[in-house]
């Protein structure tokens, strides 16, 4: 039978109200489709891991949106669109969570709404001023010194080695929008300061900039991995995912347990938005993501150590597993409130004092 355009339009017009009516009276419909949510994730191995997790369930279909630039780059888009921002969850870390909490965008979470939080160390969960849990941690990554053993001209054992003239142009140093500027805190610690007294750190950073050893200032995640892979630079301060793929192809030395070279830990996790209609499916999906099995899968694929105490840490991430003694000796836990509220000032100070020397 030949269908004319007029007939097709008439059928379509009739089909709409009929379907709506059928829905209202509870008439049987085809199999219920998964709820669609929109999530903002990191690219590379992280979103690959999340897609594998998504494939292991059918309740939720995720529309993946990737972070463009740093995790903070999404914030102005949300602020401009609020309360109509269309993200059900945004993956981030303490830095971006802190801003979202201050803007009152997030829904508090608890063991009642996300039961697998019971297996996550509570100490690490981001809280608001009322003490409510405001984000769901999924993994922990490290920020630490590492180098490619095959091309690094020296064996690096301490911060002082970074000043060795044989490292001319060989260091990739994180720019002011990277790694919360914790590498500068490391210099400060080495010079007798800390995150509350950064003058020694900036003074040491000036000296390091003047050596000419910094060949690249990493401003995007890929800068670090491509620079190290290509051999442009041989060492630097890295966050874990930047090294995951590089480590598969090149011999890396990760100084996570080296006295005098502090390691920093950060959490990655989910910030769940309160303005969205699919809150329950989003919470359920996030809960599924941090289950022991999915945490293990995430760690294997994304290269961040699981926070769920029942998950298995892959051998490739053993350098991020610390005994309590090792934790005390090698890991420095800064006052994140100070670190986060100082980013603006440190960044401007970097532009004024350090960048002109590079």
């Amino acid at each position: 039978m030949k269908l004319t355009r007029r007939q097709a339009l008439e059928y379509a017009a009739l089909a709409g109200p009929a379907a709506a009516f059928a829905g209202m009276v509870g008439a049987p419909l085809p199999a219920r489709a998964a709820t669609e949510i929109t999530a903002v994730e990191w690219g590379g191995d992280v979103v690959k891991a999340m897609k594998e997790i998504e494939a292991k369930q059918s309740a939720v279909k995720v529309n993946w949106v990737l972070h463009q630039g740093g995790s903070g780059a999404i914030l102005p888009k949300i602020k401009a669109a609020w309360p109509n921002a269309e993200y059900d969850y945004v993956a981030g870390w303490e830095g971006s969570f802190n801003g979202m909490v201050k803007e009152d965008w997030l829904v508090p979470v608890s063991i009642e709404t996300v039961p697998n939080l019971a297996d996550i160390p509570q100490k690490i969960i981001v809280k608001n001023v009322k003490g409510e849990w405001m984000a769901v941690p999924r993994a922990v990554g490290g920020i630490y010194v590492a180098y490619r053993k095959d091309i690094c001209p020296i064996e690096v054992k301490s911060i002082d080695d970074l000043f060795d003239p044989r490292l001319k142009g060989k260091i990739c140093w994180p720019g002011p929008s990277q790694a919360m500027m914790l590498p500068l805190v490391a210099l400060s610690l080495h010079a007798g300061g800390n995150e509350k007294n950064m003058d020694p750190g900036f003074a040491l950073m000036k000296k390091l900039a003047q050596t000419g050893n910094i060949g690249r200032v990493g401003v995007t995640d890929t800068d670090f991995s491509t620079s190290l892979t290509s051999g442009e630079t041989a060492l630097g301060f890295y966050s874990e995912p930047q090294l995951t793929d590089v480590g598969k192809s090149f011999p890396l030395v990760r100084l996570t347990k080296q006295r005098g070279v502090p390691t920093f830990l950060y959490q990655s996790g989910f910030a769940i938005f309160k303005n969205r209609p699919n809150l329950k499916p989003t919470l359920d999906f996030v809960n599924f993501c941090i289950s022991p099995e999915m945490s293990t899968l995430y760690a294997e694929v994304a290269g961040e150590a699981p926070l769920n105490t029942k998950a298995k840490t892959p051998d490739s991430l053993k350098h991020l597993a610390f005994t309590p003694q090792e934790f005390d000796e090698y890991v420095y836990v800064p006052d994140f409130n100070v670190v986060l509220s100082s980013q603006d000032a440190w960044s401007k100070r970097w532009e004024n004092e350090i960048a002109p020397l590079l």
Binding site: G99, G169, G175, P176, S177, R216, V219, P356, L358
Partner: protein, 281 residues
């Protein structure tokens, strides 16, 4: 007169688009640049008080250095672009057959549409410090990670866009110059180079100025090229603005930098078009 009035509605669509997508956001940016920023917040609060602090903090030698660096590299790249583009445009106009002219113009247009990321990474991979020319550079005594070389690479990245854009701009200009003037000069004994210097180039001044202004406006506001090829060491003003807007979320400061860049670009373009144009035309 009546016909002129009847034509005014034709301006309405473009006027609306510019008002909605340029003037209104720029006004918002301008207002934001005077807001007080509290560190740790995302931008300024809705009722944040007004302040000049965001502009005052730019009155530093280092910000002046960034501004100078942006203008210097943009200026050199724009002038170098004209030096390369003018003979190219002349050759395409005067020497190519109509068929080859169409091919050449098509090629230049394609270059304009090629993703800036693709060209920038192509440059980085080829001439970067880990590229195939690394050994050649070292043999020539050029440090691939040296600041001078990085600045050169940023300029080369800008030329990728400036040359085709300038050449396309200059095609029509050269086309409008009567070739018989140069022929006459040469018939009267002037060497070819002198005929071009005294006839072709002066008659193309307006076109050259237009091409320069296009190139310079593009360069001074470039973001991706210095971000990738500058290795975080050669920063343009737009990179500084991005840093403020992105990780730190200090929008008032980012807005102040953007307004300063906008004002500087407008001032330089005004000076170039008014004084240089008047003197040379």
């Amino acid at each position: 007169m009546r016909a002129e009035r009847q034509a005014y509605p034709l301006l309405v669509p473009a006027g609306l688009i510019f008002s909605a997508f340029f003037f209104v956001p720029m006004i918002g940016l301008f207002v934001e640049s005077f807001r007080l920023y509290i560190p740790g917040n995302i931008g300024s609060a809705a009722n944040a008080p007004f302040t000049f602090a965001n502009y005052a903090e730019l009155l530093t030698p280092s910000f002046g250095g960034y501004l100078l660096q942006t203008v210097r590299i943009s200026l050199f790249a724009s002038l170098a672009g004209l030096v390369f583009a003018f003979p190219l445009a002349w050759w395409i106009t005067r020497r190519f057959s109509p068929r080859w002219r169409a091919i050449a113009v098509g090629f230049l247009a394609v270059l304009m549409f090629l993703s800036v990321l693709v060209r920038t990474y192509a440059l980085e991979l080829t001439f970067g410090s880990a590229g195939p020319f690394r050994q050649t550079l070292l043999a020539l005594g050029v440090a691939p990670n040296g600041r001078a070389y990085i600045e050169f690479l940023v300029g080369a990245g800008l030329l990728h866009y400036i040359i085709p854009m300038s050449a396309l701009t200059l095609l029509a200009t050269i086309q409008n110059v009567d070739p018989r003037l140069v022929d006459a000069a040469q018939a009267l004994g002037a060497p070819g180079w002198r005929a071009h210097l005294t006839i072709t180039i002066p008659l193309c001044t307006r076109g050259l100025l237009t091409a320069f202004l296009f190139a310079f406006s593009y360069s001074i506001s470039a973001f991706v090229i210095p971000m990738i090829l500058g290795k975080g060491r050669v920063l343009f003003i737009s990179n500084l603005a991005y840093n403020r807007f992105s990780e730190i979320a200090d929008y008032p400061s980012g807005a102040a930098i953007s307004i300063v860049l906008f004002a500087v670009a407008l001032a330089l373009i005004y000076v170039a078009s008014r004084y240089i144009g008047r003197r040379w035309s």
